[in-house]
Symmetry: C2
Subunit: 483 residues, 2 copies
């Protein structure tokens, strides 16, 4: 146990990240005997469960229906859309044997579900009256990554993939859906205090089979951009090859339109990394498995000690009844100081310290993990205080995280300045003439990746500038070193 | 749509089952282009979600911790316990390629997770102080079934597998855990109104790698017994091969003890089959995605029609605020009669019919699906009435289902009588001398399967009898035609 002391989290991020995942029992990685696969441990699983609950609520509220498709996709189905299979063929796991027999048809572990779902949609959907249709599922997907794998960040089994798939009568309605999806993801990341940049990916970096891709990226402590969500307009690419024909309002028959959008456990990786510090996790109140931990401070006579324990248990009951996830740490082989360190490491947002003085005088000492600050609160005000504090903590975590991101986004039209900023872990926005070959060249010169065109800010400033490639700029291209 | 008319559900069960899964949009089966794999449709997924919530609550309350292990198990891990791999080797799917390359080590799609989890436990668990430890996960498992597959009943992707795995300091504690597990499963099936028989499986039918297996079986409408839950005492079989050594209370080192227990989507198959009738589903109030559907009956003037719709929406809000899952069917291209049939087919436990008379006189007509009975209830009493009704419906469904099961269990020591009962779809209990070869012979003579020794009833009656094999009986063996 103990802290992870660092001078510069940016430089030691990788070690810190491994330390906290193991220490806080979030995700056991690197010890399972198959590369790129880890185990969600109980505490991590609770964080995941609470996080997914937020997502499910957002999706259910907006008319999305949860379903579950098979994991295995026959080769001829996965391969039906040419662009799609070209994008995935290097990274698909194949099942070739059942028992001791070879299979007639090879089965892919799904890398994503556009193909298998669209195949089924061709059976389910016949008329505009059924549309829009919005499905989602939360599943494992598999990518045979050949790059170095990293816990939660680059894994071969992505085990927290939430993929949504929608079907529409018209292109216009699919565009409306893209906007809805962007809104849902904004609200989702906002709920978690995760700051993001929204960019329309360059052509060469869009999802295989999409018309275009819009991505949410965040900036990790090591200065690298991490893609944490994507929204694709699929047009009619999949519905054409799988023949999802619908009767339209005007009685004509046409192929349906689709979108899809996904997030993964990178959300948890971000939650851990963006809010964490040298003492460990700092979890938002909303998703913390334990929102309030009560630590009895035994002192004085046996009677006083007993009174402290009793008050702790009473308080816990009251808090639980008020819907606050509460835990009392009654371990007797650990000192209060060790308990403090432990729960700080676990990222529990609020701790209540309770000694004989607190019991006698009818107050509790409330410690908030994010600011490491104590205050005294009268017992009768405690519940209101804690509910309010929960909101404040989440706002504070969010505010700091947004501040950190915003301070690391710069605009420049100077290529050597841009290179310098990128080396220091900044996101750089440059005027751009919109030409693909220019973007490719720039990426090479900058030794960075093009995140795409900003969708979350006014880009008109660039129009007065020239593109580094020489022409007149009409938009902006974002660059970062990417995961 | 419409009803599924049958003379004898027992004989037409298979067609009825396929009809209702498709019609009520529970599970799409037989159309996905890989055998033995189906799709959970939105309505079915909601039933599944509500059912799993009951299970999760029972497990969380009793100190079980949810985790998530990788799907893929390397060959040398799966194969480490000899009995275990012998039991599964014919039915394991193997991943042999990643992208276009063959893998160094073949990876199995988990058929169950004892091996991979015990491997990790050898890293996690060192001392009795950490015990008992109770893990569970809800995942897909895969079995390359060569028998004919059936929707939800015999599939190749079991996509609703809840497997629990526990670790203990002593054999005694593992026995206590078996009793706890049996209690949890009883409460679970009781909550769903699913009747069961509990039997200790004969030696040759226990889980591959277990000391013994206790199973929950129910009787389906076609008179076949269906295994719906199993509890295994694994002894030290897995901890020995994976070297899970713990320090014990007395400072000695010993291998830990384990149990495991599981349920699957067969629970949903049972829920559908045991309670359903010719009109369709009859869902317990507890797990129904829609507990109350409101059907406005438009009649009279436009003003009256408007008043009916408004009252329906008002009522729905009040019900939802009271925590009742409510839906208002406002479709205007469907007659009330069609709506009645539709929601009866969907198994919604309670329907509220609301016409101008109801609005004027301040009551609603409450229709309960299980008994197909109507009654009038004053609006101000509605919420209390519905909450109470929900309990009554669930009790009634449970009572009827238990009655049906109990009426189909008979005791006899006459072999030709036994054969006759078995042919008619009964469970038969016979005095038994406890010898395995006798049980095998009996099974053959009866053309039925031995479910095992009853664990849920007094078997002393058999001790006055002789075993059919000739010797003195000391216990009872249950037989049925099994799925």
């Amino acid at each position: 146990m103990g802290k992870f002391v660092y001078n510069d989290l940016g430089k030691q991020f990788s070690e810190w990240f491994d330390w906290i995942l193991r220490e806080a029992e979030v995700y056991d990685y690197g010890r399972y005997p198959a590369k790129g696969m880890g185990i969600w441990m109980p505490y991590g699983f609770q964080i995941r469960r609470n996080t997914l609950n937020i997502m499910r609520r957002l999706l259910d509220e907006t008319g999305h229906e949860e379903i579950l498709l098979p994991l295995l996709i026959p080769e001829h189905i996965l391969g039906k859309e040419t662009e799609h299979i070209r994008g995935f063929e290097d990274q698909v796991y194949w099942v070739t044997h059942g028992g001791l027999e070879p299979l007639d048809v090879k089965l892919a572990l799904r890398p994503t579900s556009e193909t298998s779902l669209t195949y089924m949609e061709s059976l389910w959907i016949k008329s505009y009256k059924q549309l829009p249709k919005k499905y989602y599922q939360v599943v494992s997907i598999f990518r045979y990554e050949t790059k170095a794998t990293r816990a939660l960040l680059r894994v071969r089994e992505v085990s927290m993939f939430k993929e949504a798939h929608t079907v529409h009568e018209s292109f216009e309605d699919s565009e409306r859906q893209v906007r809805e999806a962007l809104g849902i993801y904004r609200r989702f990341f906002d709920a978690l205090g995760i700051p993001y940049l929204i960019s329309r990916r360059p052509e060469w970096d869009k999802f295989a089979g999409a018309i275009y891709t819009i991505a949410f990226d965040t900036l990790m402590p090591d200065g690298k951009a991490l893609q944490i969500g994507t929204v694709h307009n699929l047009g009619q690419n999949f519905t054409k090859v799988f023949e999802v024909r619908i009767q339209k309002r005007d009685q004509t028959i046409d192929y349906a339109w689709q979108t899809s959008y996904g997030i993964s456990e990178r959300v948890i990786a971000t939650l851990v990394s963006i809010h964490g510090d040298s003492r460990g996790l700092r979890l938002p109140f909303k998703v913390a498995p334990i929102q309030v931990v009560i630590v009895p401070i035994p002192a004085g006579s046996d009677e006083q000690k007993k009174a402290v324990t009793e008050r702790a248990l009473e308080l816990a009951k009251v808090l639980k009844d008020a819907g606050i996830r509460t835990y009392v740490d009654l371990r007797d082989d650990v000192t209060p100081g060790e308990k403090f360190n432990f729960w700080e490491m676990k990222g529990v947002p609020v701790r209540l310290d309770l000694g004989p003085r607190e019991v006698m005088q009818g107050f509790v000492t409330v410690f908030r993990r994010d600011l490491m600050e104590r205050s005294k609160v009268a017992v009768e005000e405690l519940i209101d205080y804690l509910k309010d504090l929960g909101l404040k903590i989440d706002e504070e975590l969010s505010r700091k995280a947004w501040e950190a991101l915003k301070s690391r986004v710069v605009r420049t039209d100077d290529i050597s300045e841009a290179r310098e900023f990128l080396r220091k872990g900044y996101v750089v926005e440059m005027p751009w003439d919109g030409r693909e070959d220019c973007a490719v060249k720039l990426s090479e010169d900058l030794e960075a990746d093009a995140l795409g065109i900003p969708m979350d800010e006014d880009t008109s400033w660039a129009r007065e500038k020239s593109c580094v490639c020489g022409g007149k700029a009409y938009t902006v291209l974002r660059f970062a070193k990417k995961y």
